[in-house]
Subunit: 197 residues, 2 copies
């Protein structure tokens, strides 16, 4: 059995990443969605080990010292990190792993594991991203403008990504991500082993 691979999926707020990921995971038990560890309090309805692995700051600190994270970051006073353990277990079971993380986290993972494949989900245009952020109706105009500036800034550092998936339709985005995952399994390193015997 071939080992699984790890795929980072990043994308700006409002691009529709959650919908794409939900579609991607339909009927796919050969795919593992990496659950982050966090020091923040569970919200109502959140299950430990499903939404997040809820741990305290001391444990988080221990894990940093044990190099047990692929990446970690602070966000409004709480810590978030990707534990290596579950990612490695899934890959050893032959499953591909999806990491839903930001550009900064992607850079950290790729320093530790350059073989990780990085996919950036981009909007068809900036106008469309603005339209989507407005239609969610959750943010003020000022917040939307901030999100747009942040998205453009992210894209300036997005050269680190291996692939760009344009989310102009969910079906197309999912088809492209699936194609990327399959194509990556056709890379020589893995396949040559079979025939160089």
């Amino acid at each position: 059995m071939a080992k699984g691979k790890t795929f980072i999926i990043s994308g700006p707020s409002g691009v529709g990443k959650s919908t794409v990921l939900r579609e991607l995971f339909k009927d796919r038990d050969d795919l593992y969605f990496s659950v982050s560890a966090t020091t923040r309090e569970p919200r109502e309805g959140e299950q430990d080990g499903v939404s997040y692995h809820f741990i305290n700051v001391e444990r988080f600190q221990e894990m940093i010292e044990a190099d047990a994270f692929l990446e970690y970051a602070e966000y409004v006073g709480n810590f978030y990190g990707t534990p290596k353990k579950y990612v490695d277990r899934a890959m050893n079971e032959g499953k591909d792993v999806i990491l839903d993380i930001e550009v900064q986290g992607a850079l950290q993972v790729c320093t530790k594991r350059p073989e990780t494949i990085r996919i950036f989900i981009a909007p068809p245009s900036w106008d469309e991203l603005e339209r989507r952020l407005k239609s969610r109706g959750t943010d003020s105009d000022e917040k939307i403008q901030k999100r747009l500036v942040r998205a453009k800034a992210e894209l300036q550092t997005a050269d680190v990504y291996d692939y760009f998936v344009i989310n102009d339709s969910v079906d197309r985005a999912v088809r492209e991500i699936n194609a990327i995952m399959l194509a990556e399994h056709c890379k020589p390193a893995e396949r040559m082993k079979i025939l160089k015997e």
Copy 2:
């Protein structure tokens, strides 16, 4: 409209490349199969411009001097080459181009155009390749053994390929080639243009 890309598809004799290519081209008018030029005489039923572009040795020589080939080679006294003209025209029309050429030709193309994507179709195992060659019933045992040695030698230089497609079933091979083509269109160089405006 995005420009097309060129994909080289190579593979040892008996691997089933023709069947895979026939399946791949079904209902795909967005795909162009590169027709070679040759100095050999047309055989019965062969159409100029369809099977080959039939040209004489003088013309072939002129084309070499004009750097009009992506690659060329001699094979049992005749010359074969891939004219740049039709490949470029198809790519400019937004079509992806398939070049069905050998490892040596692939090396020539990639010296001229490193951006060309190289796919090697491999058998699931050497035993299976031998079985397929025998089941064709066209070659003597000695010729089959020669083909096997040649296939193994080719694979030693096959590190130049970007992808390995294992032809254990035609459907799977076609699905993998389609995934590779789609994934290659998700590479940043092409996609970033849209968003860096």
